[in-house]
């Protein structure tokens, strides 16, 4: 059985803001199908009473005082922006 279909690959690509050609969609479907099938070996493991681990350290929320301090100035922050106008980043129109 297919673990992932070509239509699903195209949908996932859209969610991830990637465009894929038909040829790429075919190739990625085949490869992702194999990888997901490989990943399903995890189903052999009994995890009924196991809590999920997202972090290995005993991590606590880190808080600091909310004080103003110098940070990047506008020019520096915009230095790598591909397009800008009046000290702001510029993107193609969002609304038609």
């Amino acid at each position: 059985m297919d673990k992932i279909t070509k239509e699903q690959v195209k949908h996932v690509a859209h969610l991830a803001r990637l465009s894929v050609s038909e040829e790429e969609a075919d190739r990625f479907t085949e490869q992702l199908d194999k990888i997901i099938e490989f990943a399903e070996q995890l189903n052999e493991v009994d995890t009924d009473h196991i809590s999920p681990t997202s972090h290995v350290l005993d991590i606590h929320n880190v808080l600091r005082e909310d004080k103003t301090a110098p940070s990047l100035d506008r020019e520096e922050a915009l230095r790598n922006a591909p397009d800008q106008e009046d000290g702001q980043v510029k993107v193609p129109s969002v609304l038609e």
Binding site: A13, A81, P82
Partner: protein
Amino acid sequence: MSILEESFSSVHKKLENKEIKVSELVDASYNRINEVDDKVKAFLTLNEEQARAHAKTLDEAIAEDRINGMLFGLPGGIKDNIVTKNLRTTCASQLLDNFIPVYDATVVEGLQQASSINIGKLNMDEFAMGSSNENSSYKVTRNPWDIDRVPGGSSGGSAASVAAGEVMFSLGSDTGGSIREPAAYCGVVGMKPTYGRVSRFGLVAFASSLDQVGPLTRTVEDNARVLQEIAGHCEKDSTSADVELPDFSADLQKGVKGLKIAVPKEYIGEGVKPEIKDKVMDALKVLESQGATWEEVSLPHSKYAVAAYYLLSSSEASANLSRFDGVRFGVRHDSSQNLIEMYKETRSKGFGDEVKRRIMLGTFALSSGYYDAYYKKAQQVRHLIKNDFDDVLSKYDVIIGPTAPTVAFKVGEQIDDPLTMYANDILTIPVNLAGVPAISVPCGFSENMPVGLQIIASPFDEKTIYQVAHSYEQATEHHKAKAEL
């Protein structure tokens, strides 16, 4: 022997005695790069002008007998996913081809405070995704021991530059083995510190719960010295551990008498080449002769680590790499004049296939209807893998096994088969999932290629790893072998 192949302490003495200048070290580094980097292809961007100016400043300090900094004047290279102010940082991706960071990573500040010299930025698999350097969008770094073979990855440039004698040390990053595997393939020493030991501020994030920066060097002693300068609590990284910073070199001379070593049967069984297993057994004999004892143990969930890792790391990557949208930085492609299409065009032209594959795998594993079956399941298995390590490390001082199941493979041999490529990291990935520290040190040769010995310890016990690794290294000659280019 080139001055760059001498130990840190030997070079430091020569600088103090004014037998050499920092500018000569920097000359030696760039001369060697000019001589061999056409073949090795380790560097993406050189920092020559700045490095020479820095050397001049340090030479003036020597003239006034002001030698401050534990890495004073030593030429090093930095993996290209660690941001360096005003020096191009690409992550080996076309998407960041023009990216000039406006700040330094905390580890880069650490190296500067130690007065080392930044020679340049090192090649890698794009966004650190890969085990061979073949996923760099610029060029494939070659193994200095055999230029038809890969250097390993993703910190391939970091390992190859040290093995080729271009720099005295380098920084890499390790998410599933990306420091240790190339260190093993290139015959150098590579340390993946405990998760949280080294700041990730300024390390371009791949999988945030797994990524760690660490040093690659020719010897164990030098490695401990670099880690000393980059480790420690950092306010800018909320996962940085606020724990005591020990002197990593304190126990180097202590030997291994009475230490208990665990050897997981999963690390010397099926899938590991017999010649590699033999080298590990030889190393255990050396440590035994020095007074350590070893026993076989089991890390029963190791076989599931690769599957869990690819689900978890790809899921984290799919979120982390969403920032590369062509808005605030990077190379924008915008033929449509439409925002969504601009995102898609920028990302599709900017990312290579392996990065796209992992973003899609991660997006799929996190998507509605699949989250529990894939992402949550992998997190539960991660918990079991961590428990395996906790159990063994509560009874033993270190765990020892090979770093990689084979020696470096030929360029092109595995690139078309992602699953075969992923299997190269089968012995390193469990360590990242458990968050524990591990080193790879040279332990001999097979097919005339270096073999790496992996030494793993409890969280924040890098000191014991260095102790064992140094004791072994001093009894052997492997680290003195030199790649002929």
